[in-house]
Amino acid sequence: MTAHTDFPAVNRYSHAVWRRNALVWRRLIGPSLCTNVLDPLIFLFAFGYGLGAVVDQVGGMSYLSFVIPGMMCYGAMFAASFESTVSVYARFSLQRTWDAILATPVTLTELMLGEMSWAATKGLFSACCVIVVGSLWGGVASPLGALLAIPVLALGAICFACCGLVATAHAKTWDIFAYFFTFWVTPMFMFSGTFFEVGRFPLVVRIIAWALPMTHLIAVVRPLTAGVALDPWAAAGHLAYVAALAVTAFAIARYRFGARLYG
């Protein structure tokens, strides 16, 4: 109930929700590891050999160094987006897991934080798989930079999870997720600088690209792993944008779920 004290919410109750998801996932760790490692390998093959053969240098670095941080961010974005939409919606609507949890001392905010932190965990896991694969492939020029990129990727994954929850909070059927993937996930995949420099696109696309959190995330992660200079003020600006978007998205999702469940 809305009147019920809802803060502080990152606590053992939200952690209990996180642990529930982790427990279920533990059984799937084999297939999950497999896809998380194979996915970037397939991309590396296709783009590294396909595009890398024609494109020598991008933005002052080898195409391999350019594309691997993009794939780290893409891994974080895709896994966190999928978990916070399709998977959360299944637990919310199909399995009624949320109903069962909301009859316990866990509050709605705690439940959402548990789901969000789990989706972010999966996103970070995907990103870390790419760091490992990319390092072995020889595409991570700065191992220290890659280490520093981990907390940055975690923030990115949190942001993508929060944004996914906004879509889920508005979902009345599964159909909305088709739009979510077409108008949110795919543009971030194509226009945020994963495979091509953002600067190559026309102005309108560039404006859209810089509104997307993915573009800001890549702008920080890429210089880190490639070991090139990164302006700390620019980095702080990018991260602040991602963080602000995360908080805003979570607040919108919380409001919307509250209205739906208790209205």
């Binding site: 019920h4 642990r19 316990t104």
Partner: protein, 306 residues
């Protein structure tokens, strides 16, 4: 014996409770109180407002008007502790399909902030109590309907609640499964738990409930012990006579209730009916029960969605 002061505070007290969903007036001014250690049944046809009342008690829906007190306090004042003291057995199966029987209880216990050590002793005990120990490793999907209900009840007991709210605990189960659940609910009552349940089954209400509240259209029609209600609303004996009624049978002065293919007649003195019947007439005679009260008070037309 519990202290008198504790016994005097009702576990649930609601006054003029109302709930509107848009134009739908689901609950229209319901008042009742439930004393600690009793079992109270909410009886009513589909759409009567039973589930809505339970959801408001569980703070899963906000009342549109009226007052609601749990353990003598407003639910928002109790906050999280309120949920720790109330166990909910919902109508629909919302067990966690991704987890085993045992994990369902362990994971649920964590939502109550219970430690692993506490759950290590509590979960096996609950599995034994609900006769699920042999299936503790099974997936929820592999369970029969009766086992699922038992697991949902075990889950509601994970934090040892004082009040247990059960929304149609045995709907759709076979007779054996129902009897097992009834036995466990009576055990809980004996332990001093307070039970509030909804049901369509009159035998269930008669067997378990100290007091019954009959509701329809969001209002209370009557309340009392099963026997009180029978005494008040239907006469002691019921004769069920199939249609067409025997030739020469006159029903003037008899209380009747047409149930479609037969007519029910109520009488305190069985002779009142038998003397009107031809010697070869076939009929069914029984004692009046809650079902008769229920039909009497709520009518017997089919409900929307019923």
């Amino acid at each position: 014996m519990e202290g008198r002061a504790a016994a005097a505070t009702p576990v649930i007290e609601i006054r003029e409770l109302e709930k509107r969903y848009g134009d739908v007036h689901a609950v229209r001014g319901v008042s009742f109180a439930i004393a600690a250690g009793t079992c109270v049944g909410l009886l009513g046809p589909n759409g009567a407002g039973k589930t809505t009342i339970m959801r408001m008690i569980m703070a899963l829906a906000e009342p549109s008007a009226g007052q609601l007190r749990l353990f003598g306090e407003a639910p928002e004042a109790l906050g999280r502790t309120m949920r720790e003291r109330v166990g909910l057995v919902p109508q629909e199966d919302n067990l966690d399909p991704d987890l085993s029987v045992r994990q369902n209880l362990e994971v649920y216990g964590r939502y109550f902030g219970r430690s692993a050590g506490d759950l290590a002793t509590r979960v096996p005990r609950l599995l034994d109590f609900m006769q699920l120990a042999e299936r503790s490793g099974a997936k929820v999907m592999q369970l029969s309907g009766g086992m699922k209900r038992r697991l949902i009840i075990a889950r509601a007991l994970i934090a040892d609640p004082e009040l247990i709210i059960l929304d149609e605990p045995t709907t759709g189960l076979d007779p054996q499964a129902r009897v097992l659940i009834w036995r466990r609910l009576l055990d809980l009552k004996r332990e001093g738990k307070t039970l509030l349940l909804t049901t369509h089954y009159m035998d269930e209400a008669q067997r378990l409930c100290d007091r019954i509240i009959i509701i329809d259209g969001g209002r209370i029609l009557d309340e009392g012990s099963p026997q009180d209600l029978i005494d008040r609303h239907v006469r002691g004996h019921v004769f069920e006579i199939a249609k067409p009624l025997p030739a020469g049978f006159t029903e003037e002065g008899l209380e009747r209730n047409d149930v479609g293919d037969a007519v029910l007649y109520y009488a305190n003195d069985p002779a009142e009916v038998t003397r009107r019947l031809p010697a070869d007439a076939t009929f069914l005679r029984r004692h009046a029960n809650l079902e008769d009260v229920f039909l009497r008070l709520t009518g017997h037309g089919l409900r929307q969605g019923g």
